[in-house]
């Protein structure tokens, strides 16, 4: 019964979204009455989709195998958390999650956007409703999750074992919140183009949404990377897989948007570019959805390869993106540019940042789509792998990292580059010293490692130059400096922390790439192996039964260079229902480094064991966490508070600031 109610709720949400779209676009000039009606419509869409989503969750939790989706993706013996996450571990359910987050963002705009001008709010909500209508329509007509099956089987077919992991409960919701959050920027851009209302206030409304979405996307990508690292058992953290690129491109574009919206808010410049980026960022999110959901790529993310679905998504994409760009082409010329500035200025630095980030998006896009196009046009199958991306992306990002610490030290309008350089001497000296030290201690295994280290240290230390400068650290008594430091606006802190996070991630990437060691060997219980000062003793091999799988466990004792001993377990699981094996590597963290142990299939009682030592690998994800923390911190700054533009203006002019 609740299944039918959920189905009906989704149909109703589709109807309301359609009416909101048409009504909103026709009567957006209708003042507070229309914006109020659309706000209520947005909240109603949220409530209805939430009900539909809840109905699916309830069916999975109670193992209702009259629901086809539950039969295909669930099993009554599965732990509760995987029953819930299994709802979106498939094509249909993941679309419902996507729509749920979309309408949640719509309802948030309706709730927090009361202070927005009525015409802008109406247009934003109309655009948001259009997206909801398009994707609920797609779900209902091509990928209905509420299909029943009769007679209901006694048991389900279980979820793909690779997905039976806590990662599935965290990674997709975070990633989708990032992807879909950029729909707000898209809607704001469309609304601005239609209404012609594009000013600093617009940028101030859009920026919190950008930061929020960017924060989610950062966490989602980092989580996905860590999940792939520990679950897929290849020991790699990034593969330049098309699906990863699909999530990375909106992130790069979103990072550019974050910075260009800043220029627009403070200086009323870069308007056309900011609008363009808002559209591009969400278009790339949609492209990601298309690449992943259409089945043209085969990967762990591809649930169903149904060509008609791919075609429909492609058409929806063409209409949404094409429409937005047509609107942009018609209206962008009418925008008045403001805010003059010299090439050497904070604006100039941010333009440089945008230029390189946008070019990097282009390079990743070419590398991702070229094999698909070549295959479609000529039938030649090629793969554009890590070497292509490492070369192009590395070359494009190095200049960005080099100038990054200068950015926050440059003044708006016209800046003194020598002055900024003087304030960075300390950071540069520290970076050079540490690079020499680490290279000497670690031995230079690949020639680019010192350059990478230098950039990483430079960005990490340079990130704090602004804080040091503004608190007059070292020039006035320490207590006074501390007081000043704590009194600095949170956005200054978040800038420093985010840039520090970038440096930390770079350091992690460089160290693990240059100094990773690996050993593949046969090992039997009672024997030991040694790698990078760690001793691995194979204690025991056992067969164990889990809730819905059988496992072969290898128990090891690791002796670290410091002498400490730890017990670890690496296992291979065979999932009973699907008959699929998975490998669960043992990962032990020492400081920032990790030891990664993978157990092979036994043959005539001999075991192959693969051991990696990954120095400072956790810095990669730690850096991403710092970036996300910076995003959260900047959202708590009162000048950024969503929907409080007037008060924000007051703080901006108050002398205390």
């Amino acid at each position: 019964m609740s299944i039918e109610l959920g189905h009906f709720a989704l149909i109703l949400a589709f109807a309301i979204a359609t009416v909101s779209t048409v009504g909103g676009y026709l009567y957006w000039r209708g003042g507070s009455r229309i914006s109020l009606v659309l706000s209520q419509g947005a909240v109603l869409q949220f409530v209805l989709v939430a009900a539909a989503f809840a109905a699916l969750i309830q069916a999975f939790v109670s193992s209702d195998f009259s629901l086809l989706l539950a039969v295909n993706n669930s099993h009554s013996l599965k732990p509760l958390i995987f029953k819930i996450s299994g709802v979106w571990g498939n094509h249909e359910g993941s679309l419902v999650l996507w729509i749920f987050i979309l309408v949640a963002f719509g309802a948030m705009v309706a709730t927090f956007g009361r202070r927005l001008p009525d015409d802008l709010l109406a247009l934003v909500l109309a655009t948001q409703s259009m997206l909801t209508a398009a994707f609920t329509g797609f779900t209902l007509f091509t990928s209905n999750p509420f299909t029943r099956t009769f007679p209901a089987p006694m048991e389900g077919n279980d979820l793909n074992p690779v997905l039976q992991d806590i990662g599935l409960a965290i990674h997709p919701p975070l990633l989708y919140a990032g992807y879909v959050g950029f729909s707000i920027c898209f809607s704001f851009a469309v609304a601005a183009l239609i209404s012609g209302r594009i000013d600093q206030a617009w940028a101030r409304w859009v920026r919190p949404w950008t930061i929020l979405s960017w924060t989610f996307l950062t966490l989602g990508i980092a989580m996905g990377s860590y999940w792939a690292y520990y679950e897929l058992g290849w020991g790699g953290w990034w593969f330049w897989d098309p699906v990863e690129n699909a999530s990375f491109m909106p992130w790069l574009a979103g990072t550019a948007l974050l910075h260009s919206a800043l220029v627009m808010e403070k200086r009323n410049a870069l308007k056309i570019w900011t609008i363009f980026l808002s559209i591009i960022t969400f278009s790339l999110s949609l492209l990601g959805t298309f690449l992943v959901r259409s089945g043209i790529l085969t990967s762990v993310h591809t649930f169903a390869a149904d060509p008609t679905r791919g075609m429909v998504i492609l058409i929806i994409l063409a209409i949404l993106i094409g429409g937005a760009f047509a609107l942009f082409a018609m209206r962008a010329a009418a925008l008045r540019q403001g805010g003059l500035f010299a090439p050497v200025s904070r604006e100039g630095a941010l333009i440089l940042n945008n230029l390189f980030l946008a070019t990097a998006v282009g390079a990743v896009l070419v590398g991702t789509l070229y094999p698909l196009l070549l295959d479609a046009l000529t039938g030649t199958t090629i793969s554009v792998g890590a070497p292509f991306f490492n070369l192009t992306f590395g070359a494009l990002m190095s200049p960005v990292l080099l100038v990054l610490p200068f950015g926050p030290l440059l003044a708006w309008k016209r800046a003194d580059v020598v002055g900024a350089a003087q304030r960075l001497i300390g950071a540069a000296a520290l970076a050079i010293f540490l690079t020499i030290l680490v290279s000497a201690l670690g031995g230079v295994s690949i020639s680019l490692a010192p350059i990478g280290l230098l950039l990483g240290f430079w960005v990490s230390f340079g990130a704090f130059a602004e804080l040091v400068d503004r608190s007059k650290l070292g020039r006035i008594p320490l207590g006074e400096s501390m007081r000043r430091l704590l009194g600095l606006p949170r956005v200054a802190w978040s800038t420093a922390i985010a840039h520090f996070g970038v440096g930390i991630t770079v350091l992690g990437i460089v160290t693990v790439t240059a100094w990773e060691t690996e050993l593949v060997t046969t090992l039997n219980p009672g024997e030991t192996a040694e790698l990078s000062g760690y001793t691995l003793a194979f204690d025991d091999f056992r067969q164990v039964d889990g809730p819905n799988y059988r496992a072969e466990e290898g128990h090891f004792t690791v002796t670290s260079p410091g002498g400490g001993q730890r017990q670890i377990v690496a296992d291979r699981r065979n999932y009973v229902v699907s008959g699929m094996p998975t490998t669960e590597a043992a990962i032990e963290t020492y400081g920032f480094s990790q030891l990664y142990v993978q157990l092979g299939e036994p043959l005539n009682d001999t075991h192959v064991v693969r051991i990696w030592h990954k120095p400072y690998i956790t810095l990669i994800w730690l850096g991403a966490l710092l970036m996300a923390l910076a995003g959260v911190l900047s959202l708590t700054d009162r000048r950024m508070r969503v929907g409080a533009p007037r008060r924000a203006q007051k703080t901006a002019v108050s002398p205390a600031q």
Binding site: G362, A395, T521, V608
Partner: protein, 156 residues
Amino acid sequence: MTMPAVRRKGWSRKQKRLATIAGLALVVALAAALVLTALRDQIVFFYAPSDIIAREVAPGTPIRLGGLVKDGSWQRDGQNNSFVVTDGAQDIAARYVGILPDLFREGQGVVAEGRLEPDGSFTATNVLAKHDENYVPKEVVDALKASGEWRPEAAQ
């Protein structure tokens, strides 16, 4: 007298726009050159065993080899694996040191990255994992269709 005054005032709006566009064009041109060079040098072609024989692929070139793991060909000695990749028409002997993916099975599709040796055998540096038991890499399906060896039921 006028020259220093102009310089102090900075660039005119038009000059600035020109400089920005020139800088933009330069970066984009450099990036395009980079991308095109990388595309020429860094892409890896996918070959089925028949392609390798027909096109006389040079030893040492990085390639992706795809096909089915021939029944009865997989031999293991500790971490050393050897198996034969076939597309029905031609066979290539392949070697791999390490732990093969969980779903590596005889009679199933496989994609291996690596290089050809002068003796015509293949040394894999990476064997790509499949994500579920029903999945045959698309390239392998196409190659098998080309050699007439594609049997959809074999994928199950």
